[in-house]
């Protein structure tokens, strides 16, 4: 049974690795809270070719798995800045930034402070 399982696992994984359909990337995306997390992940997933997105509130690291045949990192970054979040080397426009919820204004020191000290969740 275990052997069968291993064979199956190998089959499945080798199948998905044979083409560069599951490229991995890690981006630094600015944000402060769970609402930001939802927004960042949603924007990533909704971008064409992105299969998986997980953003960490503490480290600001966005882990991505995407299909290189359908998209590239630049396109993904664009969809993230479009919803108002700065990516390491790409800034969101003021207009996009202002569209995020008040409590998510990650460029504002006071708001960052509130999140850090637990005055905002």
């Amino acid at each position: 049974m275990k052997k069968l399982l291993v064979v199956l696992v190998l089959l499945v994984t080798s199948f998905s690795f044979s083409q560069n359909r599951n490229a991995k990337a890690s981006l630094d995306v600015d944000g402060v809270c769970q609402m930001c997390k939802e927004r960042i992940e949603k924007a990533s997933i909704k971008a064409k070719g992105v299969k998986f997105a997980d953003w960490n509130v503490e480290t600001h690291e966005l882990k991505l798995i995407y299909n290189q045949k359908k998209t590239n990192l630049d396109a993904i970054k664009k969809s993230i800045v479009a919803v108002g979040h700065d990516v390491s080397d790409m800034k969101a426009t003021d207009e996009a930034y202002n569209s995020v919820h008040k409590c998510c204004r990650y460029r504002d020191e006071a708001i960052k402070e509130n999140h850090r000290t637990g005055k905002m969740e």
Binding site: M1, K2, L5, L8, V9, V12, T13, S16, N22, K24, E38, E41, K42, I45, V50, K51, F52, A53, D54, I65, K102, A110, E113, N114, R116, T117, G118, K119, M120
Partner: protein
């Protein structure tokens, strides 16, 4: 408001720079006693808005006035401290204690004991171990007493067995699983819930409606899954002792340990005994059986996070003995004689089950799971002169693969399952033997738009040697039009073979003749399988009122039987089983309000309306012994923790409306029952004193107002006569009962 506060906060701290200052440094307390400065800790004068935040090196400076005496230091994840300032010129150094090294009770107290998901597409309630502690006793069948979605009532006046109902349908229509492996089924249907001790259960998930296709085709009214304690999460050592005024004694002991880096194991032992004869109502029959049970489980858990494997292996053994009947019955001399009416039920059960799960560390959405379970259940019993033996050997296996289509909004689950059941029954003098087996494949698609909508659509196709080749579709969806709300809708089909004797063992404690009206194509005791569709809608709304949280829920479910095995009790001299098509239904409406009135005080109110009708050969009737109206109230209060200790109080009130008795018109006048039972009101209460995270004592009462059904058994004057019947039970038989118990644990 928060904004305003901050502007104030900042302007005040800027304005006051000209004044005298006090300086200090904040550190983090840790086990290695290293001095780690804490960045970003809040420091402010008590009862003022004058404060600051520590810098990178943990340093801060605060304006000082001689009216300021105490500084408050706080930081998320740390315990808040208040420091008295005596000499403002001296720099302050202070270390904060991380909350993780504090009592875990603090975290638990913030969690709701029972919670409904706002996100899941299925109408699922999660019952945590906190809720299970509210009903201090003792096994799974008793643990639903604080949950209004499930009704608990006595099956008969003899065996003391509790029966559960959901949406007005009895437990055979509910898929009851342990860690997603269907367990309480077949031979275990009547007493199976009493074979899982309450302390072994970590949490319970109750799903109303059709449920997922992954665990099989049998569920009709809903699914109940109990997660057992895990060796890596449970206490190292756990002890529970319980004693009740009825002289029921219970003992639970858990021992968990890590064996190697990847393997952990736990041993769980349960014993209960009750050897005192009670006959409060003076009818010559015991109010509750004499019994004892030994139940042992050994779990092995394998965890390999690096490679993404997690597995469980369980071995379980159960030995249960019950004796009941007339007070003067002695099994040694009176067994299967007419000296006195008595009954003995002996059950032995072995379980072996395993699970292996694999999560691809590279592709987190991909996982594989294998479940395997083998069990052997043997019950030898007699009730008066009627003998009933059953041996049930069962194999269950399920292989599940989950992944995504295009991206993680589209999830799929697919797999195959195989089941085998061998039944060998002796019903009085007739032998029934049968083998059931099935092979099935399932596919479930889950869509989540990450906002307002998610849905689960599944189907399975099974090939069963008796049920044939059939498709089971199930569908669930959730829509959230505004904040804190969830509209849900579901429909699904279920199909099952009715094990008429195992599921209706209370028939043996009657003088009724067994009458099976066979169908032409019936293959299971001459009967056809049961088929039903379940439809449901529900609405959940969370709210904040006076700064406290609450939620209100409404749900309506309808079960339509396409083909039902009717259990007909309407002739007092017989019990009949027959198939009826397209005529029976069960409607259930429930509304529930949960509100946290004050900090620590939770209340729950529920009202339920059932309209369950069965078309008998003699015409359509309301299902017997099912209250149409039910009201439920529960309040629990926990005091704040002081010096590691606290009090917890819990009260539950139940009101059951009148219940229809099966017809007794054919009986002589003194053996007749009225058409309806009286209403029933019961109150349970419990107090727990937590002395420390390690030790707590609880005491409580069940049925405090001492409500009793005066004459639960019909024909006690002649138990071997034609009017003997113990199934007319609508309320408690034994009056109030008090208990005391203790729990001791070492993490």
């Amino acid at each position: 408001m928060k904004y305003l506060f901050f502007i104030l906060f900042f302007s005040v701290s800027f304005l006051s720079f000209s004044q005298e200052e006090i300086k200090g440094t904040i550190f983090e307390k840790n086990e290695s006693n290293k001095s780690l400065p804490l960045l970003g800790a809040n420091v402010y004068w008590l009862n003022t808005e004058i404060g600051t935040v520590t810098d990178f090196d943990g340093n801060f400076s605060l304006p000082y006035k001689d009216t300021y005496k105490q500084i408050v230091v706080s930081y998320v994840g740390f315990k808040t401290d208040t420091i008295a300032v005596k000499n403002p010129s001296k720099p302050i150094t202070h270390s904060l204690t991380p909350t993780s090294s504090l009592d875990e009770i603090k975290v638990i107290s913030r969690k709701q004991a029972t919670s409904r998901s706002y996100l899941d597409s299925q109408n699922t309630m999660n019952v945590s171990s906190d809720e299970l502690l509210k009903a201090a006793c003792c096994n799974l069948s008793e643990s639903f007493e604080t949950n209004p979605s499930i009704d608990v009532n006595f099956a008969d006046a003899i065996s003391g067995t509790r029966q559960i109902k959901m949406l007005g349908l009895t437990s055979p229509y509910i898929l009851i699983a342990m860690e997603n492996i269907p367990t309480v089924r077949g031979a275990a249907q009547a007493y199976g819930l009493t074979f899982t001790p309450g302390t072994w259960v970590e949490s319970i998930q109750i799903t109303k409606g059709a449920g997922s296709v992954v665990n099989g085709y049998e569920s009709i009214a809903g699914q109940i899954n109990a997660e057992l304690q895990k060796p890596t999460k449970d206490d190292n050592l756990f002890l529970n002792l319980y004693g009740a005024s009825s002289q029921r004694l219970e003992l639970n002991a858990h021992y968990n340990t890590q064996v190697s880096e990847k393997w952990s194991t736990g041993i769980y032992v349960h014993g209960n005994t009750h050897q005192e004869k009670h006959d409060v109502n003076d009818d010559g029959f015991l109010d509750m059986p004499l019994y004892n049970q030994i139940n042992v489980m050994n779990r092995w858990q394998y965890t390999d996070n690096e490679n993404g494997f997690v597995g469980f292996l369980n071995v379980r053994f159960l030995d249960d003995y019950k004796q009941t009947g007339e007070v003067n019955f002695d099994p040694d001399t009176d067994k299967l004689t007419t000296n006195a009416w008595g009954s003995e039920i002996e059950t032995q059960r072995y379980d072996l089950s395993g699970k292996l799960g694999y999560v691809n560390p590279d592709l987190p959405w991909q996982n594989l799971g294998v479940q395997f379970a083998f069990s052997n259940h043997q019950q030898d019993s007699y009730f008066g002169l009627r003998q009933y033996d059953i041996e049930h050997t069962s194999v269950y296996s399920n292989f599940i693969y989950s992944s995504i289509i295009s991206d993680s909004r589209h999830n799929i689950k697919t797999g195959v399952s195989f089941t085998y059941d061998n039944y060998d029954e002796l019903v009085e003098t007739t032998n029934y033997e049968r083998i059931d087996n099935s092979v099935g494949a399932f596919f479930e698609y889950q869509f989540d738009n990450l906002e307002k909508l998610n849905l689960t659509a599944g189907a399975r196709i099974d090939n069963h040697n008796r049920l044939g080749l059939f498709v089971t579709p199930r569908f669930h969806m959730r829509y959230t039009p505004w904040a804190k709300s969830a509209f849900r809708a579901s429909f699904g089909r279920g199909k099952r073979s009715a094990n008429i004797f195992a599921e209706n063992q209370n028939l043996f404690s009657t003088a009724r003749n067994i009458n099976i009206i066979a169908s032409d194509e019936g293959d299971i005791y001459g009967l056809e399988p049961e088929i039903a569709w379940n439809y449901g809608v529900s609405y959940l709304q969370g709210f904040n009122l006076f700064g406290q949280k609450g939620d209100i829920a409404f749900d309506f479910y309808r079960t339509d039987f396409t083909n039902q095995v009717v259990v007909d009790w309407e002739n007092p001299n017989a019990i009949s089983f027959y198939n009826l098509e397209n005529d029976s239904f069960a409607n259930s409406f429930q509304t529930e309000l949960n509100y946290n009135i004050l900090k620590g005080l939770d209340t729950r109110l529920a009202y339920k309306y059932y309209n369950v009708k069965t078309k008998y050969l003699t015409g359509e009737k309301i299902k017997p012994l099912t209250a149409q109206h039910r009201f439920f109230a529960n309040a629990s209060y926990a005091t704040p923790i002081k010096n590691n200790s606290r009090w917890k109080f819990d009260v539950t009130y139940n009101w059951l409306g009148k219940q229809r008795f099966p017809s007794t018109v054919g009986n002589p006048a003194n053996y007749q029952r009225p058409e309806y039972s009286p209403e029933v009101n019961t109150v349970n209460a419990q107090v727990t004193k937590v002395f420390s995270p390690k030790f707590e004592v609880y005491a409580g009462g069940e049925n405090i107002t001492n409500v009793r059904q005066r004459k639960p058994i019909l024909g006690t004057d002649n138990p071997f006569g034609s009017n003997f019947d113990s199934t007319f039970v609508y309320g408690p038989i034994y009056g109030s009962l008090y208990y005391i118990g203790l729990r001791y644990r070492i993490k």
